[in-house]
């Protein structure tokens, strides 16, 4: 027997909230993408723990798909950040307010 499911869920929740705070509070586009990665990772931990709890292989299969989605998301996201940087020479999301000026 290993740890209770609740403790794994709590660990994943803490990881998820760290990622959420990063996305909300950091003012750097690359750090925001890193926060999204942390959140996807936490979701993966929950899936693996649930697969073990209900003895169902589908949870682990889902993590594979999460990884595929994360790879696609990060490729497009970093390209968008690069495009923003080429235009404004800044990684600050607040620099994207040309419509406001």
């Amino acid at each position: 027997m290993i740890v209770p499911l609740e403790h794994v869920l709590l660990f994943a929740a803490a990881l998820f909230f760290i990622g959420l705070i990063t996305v909300v509070a950091r003012r750097n586009l690359i750090m925001i993408l890193l926060g999204v990665e942390v959140m996807l990772n936490a979701a993966g931990v929950v899936f693996v723990a649930a697969a073990l709890r209900w003895w169902d292989i589908a949870g682990q299969g889902m993590v594979l798909f999460i990884m595929g989605v994360a790879a696609a998301e990060i490729a497009v996201g970093l390209t968008l950040v690069f495009r923003v940087w080429r235009r404004t020479r800044s990684l600050n999301p607040d620099s994207l307010k040309t419509l406001e000026d």
Binding site: I2, F17, L34, G44, G61, L91
Partner: protein, 198 residues
């Protein structure tokens, strides 16, 4: 406490600390390196929870490919500002001010999760140790979830095409205003100003 439990708690603590350090770094390369530590910890937790294939993929895809992609992006873009001490102190004060409410909300969220997840020791559901072999997982994925495999492959192709399209040179109206002064990576220097060639 069994060996498994001790391993899990120490790995979870290490992962959380690595993630916390990673998301608070101001130097982006440091953040990515700490993040690799966090992902390796998660991979070991996957291994502990009976997913050896996913642990391998976590190392190969996340810690290997995605973090290296981040490093490439940082090398392309980030310039570390060489700021004086007063400016750094001001930035730290503003950082504290801007982090205060998100941190409060995050802690409140974690406490709410603790309340939702019943914390009565008599009510917890212990996990039994198990292991899914890579062969079984592969057979399940390609046997039962093949439409999802197709969808993900389509998504990856769309991401490839999208990244290629978004990485194309900017059209003229899209350029920063001071072309001569800024480093323009799309055009060789001789082609920046067509007036010079005449």
């Amino acid at each position: 406490m069994t060996l498994y439990a001790a391993l899990f708690y120490s790995l979870a603590a290490a992962t959380l600390i690595c993630t916390l350090v990673a998301v608070t770094r101001r130097v982006l390369v440091h953040a990515v390196v700490w993040m690799v530590g966090s992902l390796l910890g998660t991979a070991l937790i996957f291994l502990l929870l009976g997913a050896p294939l996913l642990a391998g993929f976590e190392v190969i895809i996340y810690a290997g490919a995605i973090m290296v992609l981040f490093l490439f992006a940082i090398m392309l873009m980030a310039q570390e500002p060489n700021e004086p001490k007063e400016v750094r102190a001001m930035v730290r004060r503003r950082l504290f001010a801007s982090m205060f409410w998100p941190t409060v909300w995050g802690l409140a969220g974690i406490v709410a999760c603790m309340a939702l997840i019943s914390f009565d020791p008599a009510n917890t559901t212990p996990l039994t140790a198990g292991r899914v072999s890579p062969r079984a997982l592969g057979a399940w994925v390609f046997g039962n979830a093949w439409p999802a495999v197709e969808a993900v492959s389509l998504l990856l192709f769309a991401a490839l095409a999208g990244a290629r399209y978004l990485g194309l040179p900017l059209v003229h109206s899209d350029r920063p205003e001071k072309i001569g002064e800024s480093l323009d990576m799309d055009q060789p220097p001789c082609a920046v100003n067509p007036e010079d060639e005449r």
